[in-house]
Amino acid sequence: MNLPTSLKIVSNIFRSQTGMRFVHMSPILEKNQAGRYRTTPRKNFPLTYEMANPPHQIAHRKSWNSWNTSNILGGNRPSETAVEDLFIRKFIEGTWHALFLSEIIIKRQHNLIRIAGLVNRGVLPRKMYFLIGYTEELLSFWLQCVVKMEIQTVADKKDVIFKYI
């Protein structure tokens, strides 16, 4: 097959002699999938309360994980706050590795940042106290705000499970 013939075939795909087009496109499936979990056949996938409620239930059945005044109308530095919150989450995820059982809750009041959440009693209390001090010290140095960790320890991972799907 030389080049002119192949071009002709390709052009015929897009435009037949009757003027119809043979390339079809399906409509976009506008389905919300973020923050939603699918059921498993054995119904043994654990969900926390936070996971059990999809994002559209925020402010109805569950509340926000970030509390600040940046996102109100006319609030100052919204982008900085969002990036800082992301940084705090990443930092804590790495520092308290596999210890946080809930989402990391960040509440801001003036120049005070409160970081709350449920923590597994996986490490010795001594180490946990160290981690609290370490996190507070480093984050307050980077963010130039007072940082407070207000954690609640949980004896078992299963304590935070709301339901199985």
Partner: protein, 325 residues
């Protein structure tokens, strides 16, 4: 001889095992120094898993709390909810099928929401008592709003914004609003007219209040100074009479003053006396002024007609008598 060996064996058994083992040649099981080579990788259960030492966790504080404890010292300041500190059977969360809401233990929703556990009524009372020493009593003479408005006619408003963030500065805090009653300036008619022309739409006719907003300077103090400067300048400018202001004629007047117009002289000519002596002249002058100031509409025309009939003592028309205004 046989008897002796048997006795020995029996006595050895009575001796402590470790001691016996130390003198024994036989293999000593897992404590053997030389381990057998495990070629086929058969699982050897002799090495048990390292046991994780569980730290002892104290029971929640709420179990030991007295009923009459001082809650203000248990929860002195704002902080996230903690179930072991709050002795209340709180539940939060949505469940289906009539199940009870999740309780306070391991409940992240309770940690998210802001709580006011540090601001219970007794604590507020205590804090108010502590703050009282820094307060001065309200002046007894200023007991009514009229007196307050008379002695302090100027009202300055500015806002402090409490935002979350490392900086306490907010650009909107610079805005200063000055409000005062126009009456408190004690201006005469001419000066008042000039003042109103200068302030424009900053004057509210219904409340008789002038509102000046300054936000052009970067700092509040500068805006405050600017606003006070504006007030001073406005006052003195409206008091001042420029030479060109004398040229103001009747046509330049912004409202209709009946006493200065032809209508007054005409009425005086008809009645041959001063207009104050004519009965019903107040109604007539009001009606004419309203007609000229507000413009021609059904109400002003009817009122004018009625006033003219009263002034000239003419009978009322049927329509007017049936529908008195």
């Amino acid at each position: 001889m046989l008897n002796l060996t048997r006795n020995l064996e029996l006595s050895f058994r009575k001796i402590d095992k470790p001691l016996y083992k130390a003198y024994c040649n036989a293999s000593q099981g897992k404590h053997d120094e030389f381990k057998a080579l495990n070629i086929r990788n058969v699982k050897d259960h002799s090495h048990s898993k390292r046991s994780v030492k569980k730290t002892q966790v104290l029971p929640p504080r709420t179990n030991q709390m007295a009923v009459d404890q001082d809650w203000g010292s248990v929860w002195p300041g704002p902080r996230s909810f903690h179930p072991a500190t709050v002795p209340l059977p709180i539940r939060q969360g949505y469940t289906e099928k009539g199940a009870p809401p999740p309780d306070k233990y391991a409940n992240a929703e309770l940690m998210k929401i802001p709580n006011f556990l540090h601001l219970t009524p007794p604590v507020i009372k205590r804090q108010c008592e502590a703050l009282k020493q820094f307060c001065t009593p309200w002046p007894k003479a200023l007991d009514t709003m009229e007196k307050i408005n008379k002695h302090f006619p100027i009202e300055v408003t500015s806002s402090d914004y409490c935002y979350s963030g490392p900086s306490i500065r907010d650009p909107m805090a610079r805005i200063v609003t000055l409000r005062f009653n126009l009456k408190s300036l004690n201006l005469d008619d001419r000066a008042k007219d000039k003042f109103l022309r200068l302030v424009g739409d900053r004057y509210n006719k219904e409340t008789d209040l002038v509102t000046i907003v300054a936000d052009r300077c970067p700092l509040r103090k500068q805006n405050m100074d600017y606003v006070m400067y504006l007030l001073t300048a406005l006052y003195h400018e409206s008091k001042k009479i420029e030479p060109w202001e004398e040229l103001k004629s009747q046509a330049d007047m912004e409202y209709y003053d009946w006493t200065k117009h032809a209508s007054k002289t005409n009425v005086e000519d008809i009645f041959k006396c001063k207009f104050e002596e004519i009965p019903g002249i107040d109604k007539f002058s009001d009606a004419v002024s309203e007609y000229m100031n507000e413009g021609e509409n059904e109400y002003t025309i009817k009122k004018y007609g009625e006033a003219v009939r009263t002034l000239l003592q003419l009978p009322f028309s049927k329509e007017i008598t049936n529908k008195p205004l």
